[in-house]
């Protein structure tokens, strides 16, 4: 593994009442940390990954979180 990948995903309640996506990234040095994505970004990530469920995100590159994929 030479770049961070998604190893977990969960829906959380955003402070504005929307459903948001927390993905957990595993880095090459073995560390993990969560990143919060707003509803639009979360849906775009799922689309970019061709994901129709949260589990489909597992193993995907962190780069797909970025708008340009």
């Amino acid at each position: 593994m030479d770049e961070a990948v998604i190893v977990g995903a969960d829906i959380v309640a955003g402070h504005d009442g929307s459903a948001e996506l927390v993905v957990r990234l595993l880095h090459p040095d073995g560390s993990e940390h969560p990143v919060l994505l707003d509803e639009d970004t979360g849906l775009k990530l799922m689309e970019a990954c061709g994901a129709s469920s949260l589990e489909d995100l597992y193993g995907q590159s962190w780069r797909l979180i970025m708008p340009q994929g």
């Binding site: 829906i11 309640a13 402070h15 009442g17 929307s18 459903a19 919060l36 689309e47 129709s52």
Partner: protein, 552 residues
Amino acid sequence: MFDVIVKDGLVVDGSGAPGFRGDVAIKDGRIAAVGKVDGEARTVVDAAGRVVAPGFIDPHTHFDVQLLWDGAAKPALEHGITCVVPGNCSLSLAPLKASDRRAVVGMFQQIEEMPPEAFTTAFEWTWEDFAGYRAAIEKNLSINVAPLVGHSVIRLWVMGPASQERAATPEEIAAMQDLLRQCLDAGAVGLSTSFVDLDEHGRPVPSRFAQFEELDALAAVLGEYGRMLQVVPEFYATDITIARIDQLAELSLKHNIPTTFSPLFDTLAVPDNAERAIARVEEQFARGARVWPQMQTRPIDISFSLLRPSLFFARLPRWVRILRQPLEQRLAALRDPETVEKMIADCGPDGGEAMMGRLVARGGDACPADLAGKTLSEIAKARGQVPARALIDLSLENGLDVAFLSASQGHQSTDRIGPMLANPLVHIGASDGGAHLASFSTYGDTGYLFSEFVRKAGAMSLEKAVAKITGETADIWGLKDRGRLRPGLAADVVVFDADTIDRCEEEPAFDMPGDGMRYVRAARGIDTVLVNGEVAYRSGAYTDSRSGVVCV
């Protein structure tokens, strides 16, 4: 002769000390005596069987616009709140050049979700500078206001459109410092900034383009006055939040200022988030820094409609695929019997009863009025349908404009949150009062503190809970005249029933300019609220009193 005596109540004075039976006498807007008071008064408030406490202080609100036509910040005052802090998250309505109003209105609408009429018909723009805004709200206040000035508007004033494009030059930073001084001289309680907020076009707000040198320079000005720096950190991203805590600590120590970040949420999805953040706060306080995390009391709800895709359905692949389609194709899919059968089957053999049955039809949109507030399970039974089909059909019948609420989806674990709220270094706040109007109610968090965390969970005593939202809050913000029942201090007083104080159910109200809708919660258990010695709310009704002030 006193002006008012609040008689024979349980005096909980905001210091955290045990309550005692006694009276509170008021003269010329100030507390004249506390204890057994002899003498007469023009007004006597019978507080027998009730708690007499300092008025509550709400340190994180967005009432900036509403205060221009509603000096009580309704319904905040009826919940016992006698002082609000607007101007959070880098946004205030001053200083603001006339030519920049449109840009800032867009940012406010993004956060507050106010109807356009709120900015076009509800008040007259008479100001550009902070002193002018202060004068505009001061004419009509029945609640006290300690306003923050927003970093984004300071940046916009100095840099214009470039404020959302680049870092500032040294000359521009110096101009921002001068402008901040003017605002602090005019009564701003501090500066707010944000590392996360977006404008209505999805662009970062101006404050997010600032380099650390700019924030450091502005904090230096705050240090000249000893005033507050409020920030919105990258919540749930724990490591980044911790980095922000460290950054705030450095600013606090270097410039001898209080700082606060809001919100800090607990979530089971990132279970160590709040715990780690608070641990870092404790370490920084041990170094002498002041970095106050603001934590709200209420759980977070998720709301959605089928008008646009929502991650609420992220565990239902077929629903996600269908709701992500453009509107026409989405409608076609939802009208296709075969597709709908499959969608319902995805929700389990109970037709979505376990998954969706507890959703609540919110009302305030196209939802039939008689269904608002009912659970999807109740609606489905009345229609003779399973919940998933009822959700789809009810949405289709009303142009998809029916919002559903999934209650308590975040920050919902009383057992975890109670001890955090009781932590002496955790600042109770972050209500967001006056924001997110069309999404959920931001009122009643103080009532919920007493009903959930004092009465139900026993996470803290009545006296401690009162101190957290009165005396301790006043200390954190440097509001030297507020927060305690002590002779000489301003007479902000709330009389409430400790056994019943609470927030009521959320309901839509159409009381915004242009008949705009917002969700509100009425108060329960609040008898009387006095602001600067005048009765502003009593027995369920607001008075004509206009005794509120800008109280910095």
